[in-house]
Symmetry: C3
Amino acid sequence: MYPFSAGLYAPRNRWYVAARSAEVGRVALERFILDEPVVFYRTEAGEAVALAGRCPHRGYPLGRGRIDGDAVVCGYHGLRFEVDGHCSHIPSQDVIPPNCRVKAFQVAEHWEWLWIWPGDPALADLALIPDHRTLGLTDPDWIKRSPLYWQVEGRYQLLNDNLLDLTHLSVLHADTIGGGDVAGTQERHEEGDGWVRSLRWIPNAHVTDWVRESRGIEGQVDREIMLTFAAPGFHFGHDRYFPVGSDPATATPLLDIRIFHAVTPATQTTCHYFASSAVDPATFELSATHPPDTASASASALKIFTEDVDAISEIERLLGAAGTFEEVRLRADVHALRGRRMVQEMIRAEQLSPAAAKVPDGH
Amino acid sequence: MYPFSAGLYAPRNRWYVAARSAEVGRVALERFILDEPVVFYRTEAGEAVALAGRCPHRGYPLGRGRIDGDAVVCGYHGLRFEVDGHCSHIPSQDVIPPNCRVKAFQVAEHWEWLWIWPGDPALADLALIPDHRTLGLTDPDWIKRSPLYWQVEGRYQLLNDNLLDLTHLSVLHADTIGGGDVAGTQERHEEGDGWVRSLRWIPNAHVTDWVRESRGIEGQVDREIMLTFAAPGFHFGHDRYFPVGSDPATATPLLDIRIFHAVTPATQTTCHYFASSAVDPATFELSATHPPDTASASASALKIFTEDVDAISEIERLLGAAGTFEEVRLRADVHALRGRRMVQEMIRAEQLSPAAAKVPDGH
Amino acid sequence: MYPFSAGLYAPRNRWYVAARSAEVGRVALERFILDEPVVFYRTEAGEAVALAGRCPHRGYPLGRGRIDGDAVVCGYHGLRFEVDGHCSHIPSQDVIPPNCRVKAFQVAEHWEWLWIWPGDPALADLALIPDHRTLGLTDPDWIKRSPLYWQVEGRYQLLNDNLLDLTHLSVLHADTIGGGDVAGTQERHEEGDGWVRSLRWIPNAHVTDWVRESRGIEGQVDREIMLTFAAPGFHFGHDRYFPVGSDPATATPLLDIRIFHAVTPATQTTCHYFASSAVDPATFELSATHPPDTASASASALKIFTEDVDAISEIERLLGAAGTFEEVRLRADVHALRGRRMVQEMIRAEQLSPAAAKVPDGH
């Protein structure tokens, strides 16, 4: 489906952020992941669990079940499923049929979010999750902001496309983070195995009122924006402000913000969006003059994300209501199209390798 | 469609409860029955009428029409249809085309509900409606509660399945009618021509607070639950409480509640649900200590039914949003699957007998 | 699709009313026309512009864009489209790809409404728009009422059918404009190239309370109703009240109301509806006793239109929810069916003439 070729949706044998840690607890949480319901909860020891969210007996959502000990108990006929997905109790019989189980997903909790591997658990490779220490997310020297979350009424790749083409900053976010001619500045594209990177150096950029008020930066700056897309759904990078005339190779930024976005397919036409940031405590923003007021900064950040979320839902609305859509491709899309093709190649590779691609049935 | 084989929906040449008597009067009522709109009203003499609910001229719903004498008059161009479905007046012309008519359904009113035969009127056999005197519904010796009604956001067989597998009482209704180990008690299955029956004797069952408060039963009891499914959409039975140690063959119950459920396909994925009950006036519930407070008892019963209605809509939600569903079958499903197959056989038999199965066109 | 043959929707190379003039200004307005989004706005000089409403780059709705000078600027990445649909600016690059453009629709503004030609702009013939001077819409001697507008939840031909069969006045509008036996009065049918006309003379017609109160007519009248359908979506005519016993050829009406309806396909199952009227200033309604109170008259007229809009949405509801529909045709449908076939022939003619019918891609 658009923007991929017909019949292509999302790679399954990859890590995606499924939830913020604080959302998962001793009450069942249902969330659609890659078009299937999943139930999330924690064991008594606090371990996160993700199981296929539909009781195999009569299809009742386990997300409406009860957490008991380390298990989830279906709210309809009481079947009890353990953390590995096997059924340990059926109130109406002693023998448990061997096919009475649900798929247990591989999950991994890092910092304040929970990752899920929707595909074959045997293939789940923790090394594929970006190193959170390097990202600054588990680095105690950085001040992190807890992730924000949106259920977006648009297919996930629209949001990936959004993050892969930052020329939209100058228009959609003109009043907030659009300072400097982002669109007019040629980006540097880099790529590697499973990732693409966009880097821009914008000399003598103006700062918007929004940046001045929320980030304490005044006047003109040299600005550096970097964003790396770790396909299929994680984006990380930084937004740095330097004194005008700085040498990018050696200068110390006035402000250094690390940014993190996670995009996860929910249904065919909706997705989950998680966004967070981290700041170097040495920066101006956290000085005595501008105390680190997380609540106010988050409220301020909400405006930016709402602009993106609205844009994606507007595009999805027309994809659903109007006819098929053929894109005109611009030079600025080279980077975005590389990222998009990377996701498409992941999907195609799984289709060519049925063993790896098949959705494990948990048996 | 699930839980039947592909392409199978519902038997047409059978009786279904379409409405509560009090809902049908001198104002047109539209209700979908087996995926078609039907208009219900009463003649001046009070006879219930059911006609196909769409004017054959330009498709305006007759349920938005006006009742005039014994006829319904279309609200758009004024075509008038009599109780047998023939058109008796067209404001713009004197000659009535012979094909200008709507199907008239066979209906039968018993006690407080109206039955409809969606299929060929010529095949409608009143003897197929369960005997209401035997059921206690027209027996003056029993105190009846007027039926409750829900439009359920789930396909009808999910509700039949619910009523065919009472092991859910111990879980979904744990706080209300789930007293005693219903799920753990082996049921006795009986069946005959067009019906299946489940019977359970649960010795030394605890009573829930809900039963104590709403039914005046204290301490432990021996409990007998019987439910007969008269396919394709009627369930009747009883819930009896005896002193512990009773001989089921001879004992007199402390409380005897007769229960009645009617399930009728509305659209492909919704259904009508009617539920009622009757009590032996000699029982404790109606004693001086526990006066028969119908309003309070109904309010109390609402909680139980709401649990079922919610469960069915949750299953339907996943059937619509998630992929295809393959059931795991349990031992407790033997009875339910017999009932389900009975409905499926009724549908199949109609398909094999086109004369009987065809939807009469009313011409 | 009903009421046309399968696969037939609407003629594209025809004029339709797209908007009331006052709705189109210096803020982008999105409206679906024949199942495609269109963005409407005005240039600095006040000229109305209609462009395909989806940015060809990433599919963002131009109806959410910003009007700047004579252009619309996409709200996502800032692409700028001029009145002829060509892209004049891309913030991220200097060269404009030749395929980076949107279709520009031919529009024509007459009186208080804006006409659009959804098909091939090269074929747009202004002479096909009914002469507004003749209609009384640009005639200074007539008092016009500004058009009312509804987005109707029903396919456009249902509304055309409604206006083509005035026998519904006696039923649906019995309390307002249904005075006299409209349904029982044989209409005179006339037709020409692209139009059909219905004419009725109803002697000795009673006037409803509604006509008495809103139009100042008392007692019995001779009434003349004429409505011409200029396919595929414009209806104009008059509703005249004469003293009883008048000679239609020579009599002066007590009241002469010219009526105008425009019906435009929005999506497959919704349409736009515009309705207006004009009154001879010499008529009683505008006398000293009945001052021309446009606001009150409009409020009064709203009731009539709401009855039609409700009827169409009710028919559409059943077309969507119930099975396929086969019409029974009445004698009074002869005129309506001629009008409907005229529209169908227009669609068919476009399909047989691919050059004329193809949706221009704007290149």
